[in-house]
Every structure is written in C-alpha cells, then in structure tokens.
C-alpha cells in the first residue's frame, strides 16, 4: 500500500475514538436532564458537576482527535 494512503487511513481510524466520547457526553447530558426534570430545584446547583463530567469525558475524545492530527501532519 502507498505509505501516504496508509497515513490517511490511519488518521481516519484514530479519530474513531471520538465515537466513545460522543456516547459518553450524550449519556452525561441525558442523565442530567432526567435528574433535572424530576427535581428542577436541585438542577442549578449541579451545573458545575455537569460541566466537570462533560469535560473529563470529552478530553478522551480530544485525545483521539489530536492523535489523528499527529498522524496526519507528522
């Protein structure tokens, strides 16, 4: 196989890791919405925790994205 083609395929495959991060972020927000609709009074105080969980989950997706860029441009 042409090395350049292999590089592009590898970069594409590396970004597949974002699927997991997408599912995870969706789960976090769905969980928050479910809880918030049952007890709207407590929802506001949990905003920081929501963003914290979102950020920690998203970091893993970003790692795979950066890995894809590293493969593509190095």
């Amino acid at each position: 196989m042409d090395p350049a083609a292999a590089k592009y395929i590898g970069a594409g495959l590396a970004t597949l890791g974002m699927i997991g991060a997408g599912i995870g972020v969706g789960t976090i927000f769905s969980g928050f919405l479910q809880g918030a609709l049952r007890n709207p009074g407590a929802a506001g105080s949990q905003f920081t925790n929501l963003i914290l969980g979102f950020a920690l989950t998203e970091a893993l997706g970003i790692l795979s994205f950066v890995l894809g860029l590293l493969i593509l441009f190095s």
């Binding site: 920081t48 920690l56 950066v66 441009f73």
Partner: protein, 260 residues
Amino acid sequence: MADPMHQFQVQKIMDLPDFTLPVLGKVDWAITNATVAMAIAFGLVVLFFTVSTARVAVVPGRMQVVGESIFGFIDDLAVSIIGHEGRKFFPYVFTLFTFILAMNMLGLFLVFGPTAQLAVTATLGLMTILLVIIVGLVKSGLSFFKLFMPSGVPWYLLILVTPIEIISFALRPFTLALRLFGNMLGGHVAMKVFAGFVVSLGALAAGGGLGLLGIPGAALALGSVVALTALEFLVAFLQAFVFAVLACVYLNDAVHAGHH
C-alpha cells in the same frame, strides 16, 4: 481549497537577537503573532477591569455590574469547590479564567488564536499542576501522597489502585492542555473547512451549467459557518470555565490531601 492548518502557523513579526540562557541554551527571542495576540488579550483584560472599577459606586453602573458578576462567579466557584481556603487561590483561578476567556474570544475575532497553540496551553497546564504539587507538599507534607492511596480500600486492592491513581495524576497536565488545545484547534479547523466549501462551491457555480447546483450547497455551507461561529462562542466560554473548574478541583485535592 485553502489549507485549514495555515492559520495556526507562528510567524515572526519582529526578530530580536537570540539570547543564550544558562540552562535552556539558545532561545529564539522574537515577537511573533502569538506573542502579540497574547499581549492584546492580557491588555484587554487589564483595561476592562481598570475601566469597570474606575468609578466604583454603591449603585453600580453597567461596566461595574459586568466586572462584579465575573468576579463573583469565579469567587463562588473557588469557594464552593475548595471550601473556605478557596479564597487564597481565587487570584490564580480568576487570572486563568479571564486570560483564557480573552484569548479564546480573540481567536474568533483576530486571525490568530493563541489557545490553539499547544505550547500556550501546555504552559498553563504545567503551571497549574506545579502549583498543585507545591501547595500539596507545603500544606500536608508527605501525607500529600495519601492522595494516591484512597482510605477505606483494602491493602490487596491498593496494589492495583495506587498505580492507577499515580497514572491518572500524571496525565492531568496533559489532559488539561490537550482539552483546551484540541477544542480550539478543532473548532477553528471546522470553521475554516466549511468556509472553504462556500468558496469552492461558489467557484463551481460560476462555471454555469450543472455547476449551478453548487449554489444551494454553498448556501448550506454558509449557514453552517454562521451556526459554527455561534457554537464556538459557547465553546470559548465553556473551555475557559472548564479550565478554571478543573484547576479548582485539583487544588482542592492538594489542599485536603491529608484528610480523606
């Protein structure tokens, strides 16, 4: 189509003579577009808070309300996460938040976003984690290392848990830096790619004939650019907030390391 990575190139605006530092060796001492963008961000933050607190009144004016609400927002955050001792770390967290927010926002207005440079975000991340380690060692001495041994875990599980805790602690500066960098880089690349679609589909439509089908495509891409710009403003705020929250959480670990 224009190269989407071109916008992240650091270019020298004014070259200054190289310096030789004792430990680091030769340092390229030049004013680049990254330096200028960061200086503008810093200047804007200082200017804003100087203007907003210039004439402090009991009944605040518009600028004072904005300044006070940003101040109160981060103050609440630091105190609610770290507790009573959060006040001590408030200046650092507040500086981080306003500086990153200014740099992120400038990235959307200027042609150059400093937070899309890994060197900038890595410096901020390393600074935060060094502060965490220093605060932890000064506050609780050797019991700072209890952070890696959660209490209430049986000893045979500690063999497994301690390495995981150490690895996750060591990864913190990397994730802190990469999260901000990746979000900013990804957002700018996506905007540039969609903007490139507008031009290339427009050029296709200019050829006439079947190429006219490119017009609705170009309109769709243009709408996407507008929507992405709005999303990027949200992301710019959110990432600055996330950086501040995580700095608080890590500092909380260090402050309360001795007793968990």
